[in-house]
């Protein structure tokens, strides 16, 4: 977060955002329960990735998935939709 808010001369014209993606608001602290993936059981079907409304499930280089806890709001859709039930919602 900015320590000092910009003046009207510093704010881009009309409040246009010219660098989308540069600032990402963190929503991880909205959460009560967090999803934890059992990677042993995961079949890498990407259903959780596709249905995440944030998205806060990233595809990893090794072809798997991992939760981005900085963003995850803890809705539990991933756990509910996982066809092999390898995601558990735990406190935190």
């Amino acid at each position: 977060m900015m320590s000092k808010f910009p003046t009207y001369k510093e704010v881009p014209i009309a409040g246009n955002i010219y660098d989308p993606g540069k600032l990402v608001y963190k929503t991880g602290d909205w959460r009560t329960f967090k999803p934890v993936i059992d990677h042993e059981k995961c079949i890498k079907c990407y259903i959780c990735w596709l249905y995440c409304p944030e998205p806060s499930i990233d595809r990893t280089k090794d072809g798997g998935v991992e939760i981005n806890y900085e963003q995850c709001k803890g809705c539990g859709i991933c756990a509910a939709e996982c066809p092999v039930k390898c995601i558990e919602m735990v406190k935190g």
Binding site: G15, I17, P20, G21, L23, V24, Y25, K26, T27, W30, R31, C45, Y46, I47, W49, L50, Y51, C52, P53, E54, P55, S56, R59, N68, Q71, K73, G74, C75, G76, I77, A79, A80, E81, M89
Partner: protein, 305 residues
């Protein structure tokens, strides 16, 4: 048809938005961007998807994105399309861009229907995508022309005398098709493959196309956040929300439901229909079931045309 593994990994719709946990429309929009990809401009009507996805200096959109007002998103899209056409005429390169106008059910069925009708009639080359969560959720769950019969909202309470919204849902796709457009379809976030395929088809159309996607809202429909997809599936598996398309004069039911569940299964999973299960309103569920049956029969007949 597409495979999940073939969908772009790159996200053009970023996290950090302020939409509720388990938001159905957010899932719809993310899938839409997976289908449309980078060469796209999106204009969004006032509503959840607008207030939730941008708040200066934050934005979730990695494609050009414009919000102007509530009732005019189809008109704004018309202007964007017209500008590309005109500027292309005096330029060496003609650019073909996907233009998507995005509106909720309030912004589409009600306040935006005139602008949508005008844009469809004029034949602009764009996709209008209505994410339908069946009420004005952004302002706190008021009934819209898309709210189903019997649903309790903050302006159609399920009360002691009135069992929720007395009127029936508007037929958006019927209205759209009546404009003589080439492609119009319903979709659901529970059937991602069908939806993504339809977005691609709609963007390929040279002219206007409309997609109406059902996207449940945990807050307004009153179910647990995790159940968004389950509820969406029930909507189709009870034939409450049939998934079909109109493509060049031909109707197709894309999701066949040979053994439908009773509509009760869909209704009882949500708090907004809870009052219908009181004895004094027992006839309501039957009425809804009859409506669902009739609608399905009507669509099946259309597919034989």
């Amino acid at each position: 048809m597409v495979a999940i593994k073939d969908l772009p990994v790159e996200e053009l719709y970023l996290p950090g938005h302020r939409l509720c946990p388990g938001c159905g429309p957010s899932i719809a929009i993310r899938m839409m961007m997976k289908a449309a990809e980078k060469n796209t401009i999106v204009t969004t009507a006032t509503g959840c998807m607008e207030v939730g996805t941008t708040l200066y200096p934050y934005t979730s959109w990695l494609v050009p994105w414009v919000h102007t007002a509530f009732e005019n998103t189809a008109a704004t899209a018309s202007g964007i399309e017209a500008a590309y056409k005109a500027m292309g005429r005096r330029s060496s390169e003609q650019r073909k861009i996907n233009i998507i106008a995005l509106g909720g059910d309030g912004g589409t069925f009600d306040i935006g229907i005139q602008a949508l009708s005008g844009a469809l009639e004029r034949g602009h080359d764009f996709l209008y995508l209505c994410y339908d969560n069946e009420a004005y959720m952004n302002t706190g769950i008021q009934r819209s022309g898309a709210t189903p019969h019997g649903a309790s909202t903050t302006t159609s309470w399920g009360g002691k005398k009135i069992p929720g919204k007395p009127e029936w849902k508007k037929d958006l796709i019927g209205i759209s098709i009546a404009h003589g457009i080439e492609f119009a379809a319903t979709a659901s976030i529970a059937y991602w493959n069908d939806f993504i395929t339809k977005v691609k088809k709609a963007l390929d159309v040279n002219g206007p196309a409309v997609i109406h996607i059902l996207a449940p809202c945990p807050r307004g429909w009153r179910y647990e956040d995790k159940d968004t997809l389950k509820i969406a599936r029930l909507a189709t598996q009870t034939r409450y929300f049939p998934i079909y398309e109109f493509n060049n004069g031909k109707y197709t039911l894309n999701i066949k439901v040979p053994n439908p569940l009773p509509v009760e299964e869909f209704l009882k999973a949500q708090g907004r229909f809870k009052h219908l299960f009181k004895p004094e309103y027992s006839n309501e569920i039957q009425e809804i079931q009859e409506f669902v049956n009739k609608n399905w029969d009507r669509l099946e007949k259309l597919t034989t045309l």
